[in-house]
Structure formats: structure tokens, C-alpha cells
Symmetry: C2
Subunit: 327 residues, 2 copies
């Protein structure tokens, strides 16, 4: 049961391979007569053009790469889903890679993916600028940064409005009467952590907040848990850099005999799947994860197919979600 190729089809339809190619790709006019003979033959033989040969010829593989820190982090699955759903519609295929935010691995992955002749790259990386990527972009690789922007690399990006989200959250907290703030943020290297910090700083200044504290740590449950255990003077509210951190904060607080939200308020960021089921359910800032993925994929495909070169950035809106971890 040998694989049928374009030659077989040509023979069957008694035309040349170029004619077959033309009807497949609609790349040039073909007379109705021949066209129908070709279509007939294709159907009869069950012919499927080889993506790989086509790729060799055209340089296009209809494949895009996506480098993320870790699919195991609940923030990413929805993004990936948004990406994959859109790509599927456009007949593209997704190669997924986990980098653990290690710049060295990220750089290796870029190489691997370029080797695989991806048509474009979606990148959610550590914050550091990468020469490799910069170079690749200059060489014409289409890249869209997702959730995180890397300075120095001139490429399109999709992020959510971290600044506004954090600002709105803080203003809600202020209005709710919270006056002392403890912000356990994610890693300093991460773009979104830095932006959220900036919003925090601006808030503190604008409202002349006296009693506040900020610390960069990492976007994990453990970070929230451990840092909370070390807090000397409990503030009115502890702000987690993301929901995972907030979960850790809540659990630590409970172990310390403190009630959330009666004794302390706790907030997160992201609104991952479980935040509405957490006990107490988590006040947080919703990021449109699925939309971010979809939008980024959309931009990338536009970049690839329309040859658009204009660098564009999209900032998707965030939304404060008030639940029971604050009052």
C-alpha cells in the first residue's frame, strides 16, 4: 500500500504534474476539463499532498512553535487552548515547548524550532532579552510575544492590561476601607510582575498610603505560603502577585489562626480555574487567558500570511472580580 504522490495523480488523470499542482493550489487557471479529471484522479487514488515536500519547496511548514514556561502552571492551559483552537481553524499546527523560564533552554528551543522550520513563534519567556531571538527576528522569523514583552526585541505582542487591572484592584481595596497593604509579587524578571509593581507604586503615591510593603518572589503557592509565615505585622490586606500566591497566603493565614477576610483580606491575579472555588473564593483580577492566546495566534498568522511587518501590540482588558477573600 504505497503512498500515492503527485506523479501518480498526473498519470491517472493523463495530465502533467504541474497541472495537478495548479488545481491543488489554485495557483493558476486550469480548464474545466482537465481540472475535473484531476479532481477525479485525486479522489480515486486518495491522494494527499505531502506537507513535507511542500515545505521543502516553499519554505512554509504551516507549523508554529509556542514556548511557554510550564504547561503545568494553571495560567497556561487556557492560553494554549486559545492558540490551538485558532491555529486549527487556519490549518496550522502547534509545537509546544516548556522552558521553565530558563533563558538557556529558551534559547535552545528557539534553535530547535527554527530548525524545524516553523513559520512563526509565540513566545512567553523569562524577562531577559535574548540575542538569539533578536537575531532570529532580524532574519525574518515572525514572532509574537505573549503575556510578556522582552525589551530589545522588536516584535508584536499581546498582553493583558496588567497596569489597569492592578490599579483597579487597589482602588477597589481602598474604597473598601483597606489601608495597609502587603504585596507578595512574582519574580522580578517577569514583565507582568514589574508592571503590577509599578501600578502599586503609583497607587501608594496617589493615595499617600503610609503603610505598605512590597516584595518580589516567585509566582508559586509556596512563595505565598512561606512569605506569609514570615510577616511580622499583619496588614489589612495581602496582595498576591497571582492566584497561586494568594492560595498560599490564604492557607498560611488560616494556619496562623487568622480569618480571611475577617482578619485579613487577600487578593490574587489571573482568575485561574479554581479561584472561584477556593475557600474563601478569591477576589482577583481576571485576565482573558483564552482570548490572549487566540489574539496572539491571530496576529502571528497575519504576520505570516499577509506579510504584515508593522509591529503591533495588543493590550487586552482585565477585570476585577470581587469574591469572598475581601470584604
Amino acid at each position: 500500500m504505497k503512498k500515492v504522490n503527485i506523479k501518480d495523480v498526473a498519470k491517472e488523470a493523463k495530465v502533467s504534474v504541474s497541472t495537478v499542482s495548479r488545481v491543488i493550489n489554485n495557483s493558476a487557471p486550469v480548464s474545466g476539463e482537465l481540472k475535473s479529471r484531476v479532481i477525479e484522479a485525486i479522489k480515486k487514488l486518495g491522494y494527499k499532498p505531502s506537507h513535507i515536500a511542500r515545505g521543502l519547496r516553499s519554505g512554509k511548514t504551516k507549523t508554529i512553535g509556542f514556548i511557554i514556561p510550564d504547561i503545568t502552571n494553571p495560567f497556561f492551559p487556557e492560553i494554549v487552548r486559545g492558540v490551538e483552537d485558532y491555529l486549527r481553524k487556519k490549518d496550522y499546527t502547534l509545537i509546544l515547548c516548556n522552558s521553565d523560564q530558563d533563558p538557556k533552554i529558551e534559547s535552545e528551543l528557539v534553535d530547535i524550532l527554527i530548525d524545524k522550520h516553523i513559520d512563526g513563534l509565540l513566545f512567553t519567556g523569562a524577562g531577559e532579552k535574548s540575542e538569539k531571538l533578536e537575531l532570529a527576528v532580524k532574519k525574518g522569523l515572525k514572532v509574537v510575544f505573549l503575556d510578556r514583552i522582552i525589551e530589545g526585541v522588536n516584535a508584536s505582542y499581546v498582553v493583558s492590561d496588567n497596569y489597569d487591572g492592578m490599579k483597579s484592584l487597589l482602588e477597589y481595596l481602598w474604597k473598601a476601607g483597606y489601608r495597609s497593604f502587603y504585596f507578595i509579587n512574582g519574580s522580578k524578571e517577569t514583565f507582568s510582575a514589574r508592571i503590577r509593581y509599578k501600578a502599586f507604586l503609583d497607587f501608594v503615591e496617589k493615595y499617600r498610603v503610609k503603610d505598605y510593603h512590597h516584595i518580589f518572589s516567585s509566582f508559586s503557592y509556596e512563595a505565598g505560603y512561606n512569605h506569609t509565615k514570615e510577616i511580622n505585622r499583619i496588614p489589612d490586606v495581602i496582595i498576591g502577585g497571582n492566584d497561586l500566591i494568594a492560595y498560599g497566603v490564604i492557607d498560611a493565614l488560616e494556619e496562623m489562626g487568622l480569618d480571611v477576610p475577617d482578619d485579613v483580606g487577600v487578593t490574587g491575579f489571573d482568575d485561574i480555574l479554581f479561584s472561584k472555588h477556593y475557600k474563601p473564593s478569591l477576589t482577583t483580577v481576571r485576565q482573558p487567558m483564552y482570548e490572549m492566546g487566540k489574539k496572539a495566534a491571530q496576529m502571528l498568522i497575519a504576520l505570516i500570511e499577509k506579510g504584515v511587518n508593522k509591529i503591533k501590540g495588543y493590550v487586552l482588558p482585565t477585570e476585577v472580580v470581587i469574591r469572598n477573600s475581601t470584604q
Copy 2:
């Protein structure tokens, strides 16, 4: 900045392309003299062989496909991570596809992936047998089934010991004094749900349990929540087909004013990330997700590279994890 190819290297090293190919692939002896010249040239030119051309020639793409229901379901990310980590080590690349367990989509995806010339396929599908897959396997596609076995398709598989896990869980519950059981299971089509049901039936018979109930629904939070709300007579313990279902059960129970575990016990299956942080923390059966992914990838690569044809199945052990949702 043109891409350098094997010819350029050959010219630079003053040898033939075949010699270059030989040293790259170590496919035939080459004299030390030429070999070092070639290596030199490769380094100097920064040459990287094109996977795609190689693929066209050899028919191998060093790419494997993975069809899963939905990466957004917390059960899958760890599996995917296990797969990807192993594949990376072996210089393979992962194409990820979500099927939503729709047999039609699954079948389309198989086509798409075959078109892309994957070297092998990891498949976690709906329960139904698929002619397409069966055919593909017969045509030589290497397939490993992950978490779910499809009847009628003769291929290797990796699953966890669902039967033993459920059996052990039930026996623990029995010993703990639970006497009436309500099992809200996942979807009837799913392999693991059926196995767990069988274990339940065998348990009920062996221990002559009088008071029990079983229902197939779906592996979701909502399923657990909704079915619980409809229960007339509350049993000693409600068994969720997976952790998600158990979460829904717990929340519904609480809304109904019932205490877990004081009034009712609740158990899950899988031990996903959040189960240890749920309130109350969930008694469940741990499946080695990461290991399953890794093992499946390992088997697939063995199938591909060693040309092993022996169909093999692996059943990975599960483990009852006792937490605070039972007593």
C-alpha cells in the same frame, strides 16, 4: 544572510556532499583528515542540517503528535509535561492537539497529523473505536494509547491501575466504617470510568454492600455539583469519578448545610494539583500523571526507533491518598 546548506559545507571543506552527510550522521566511516575538515567547516559556517529536507528523504520527521481531550482539564498538563520532557531528551518535538473527545475531530486530527508525517502518535481519545486509527496502525503508524485503551485497535498502551486504585480506595472506606456509597462517575464512554465502575461493582458484591448507587455522568465540577443537589438520601460517602467531580460534590454539600467529612465523606480520583489544598483537602487516588506521559513517550520512541513491533501495555500503580474529606 542566506541559509547555509550541505553544499556550502562541502565546498568549504573541499569534500563531497556525501562525505559531509556521512560525518553528520556517522553513517559510514570517514578518514580523520576529512572528518575534521568537515567539522571545521560546519562550525565555521554555523551549518545546521535542515530537518525538513532530511524528513523528505528519510521519511522521518522527529515529530510526534499527541491528541488529548482538552489541555484545560487539570488532569492533562502534567501528562503533557511528562511527554514533552522525555521527547526533548530524545530530540523529538511535540505537536499538541485538543479533540474535546469528539470522535469526528479525533479522526480529523489523525489525518492532519499523518499529513504532517509524524513519526508516531500518542492518543488519549474517546472510548469509541476508530476505523481511521485502526487503518493507520495497520499501515504502520506507531501509536501508543495513553490513559485510555480503544478496543479493536491493536497498539501499545500506558494506563494507570484504575481498578486497583478504586478497589483500594473502597476498601479503605469500608475499613473506615463507611457503609453506604454513592458513586458519581465520569462518562460511560471513557475507559477509566468503566474500569472504576467495575471495581465498584466487584467491591459491592464482595462486601455484600446493600446500600449503594452508581451513575455515569461526566468528568466535571458541574457534574458533581448538580448530581449531589439531586440526591434524596445522603449516603455515608460520595465517591467522585475524579477530583473535579469531588470538588463539585463538596461545594454542593456545603451549600446544603452538610459538613464534610463529619456528615458525609467525599473522595476523588487523580490527585490533581489542587486536591491537597481544597477545603477540606481531598481523599483521592493518585495517578502518576507525569510518569504516564513519560512512559508513553518512552514506549513510542522505542516503537519508532527500535522498530519494536511487540504490542505492550504498561499499567502504572496508583495510590490511595487519605486526607480530610473522609475520616
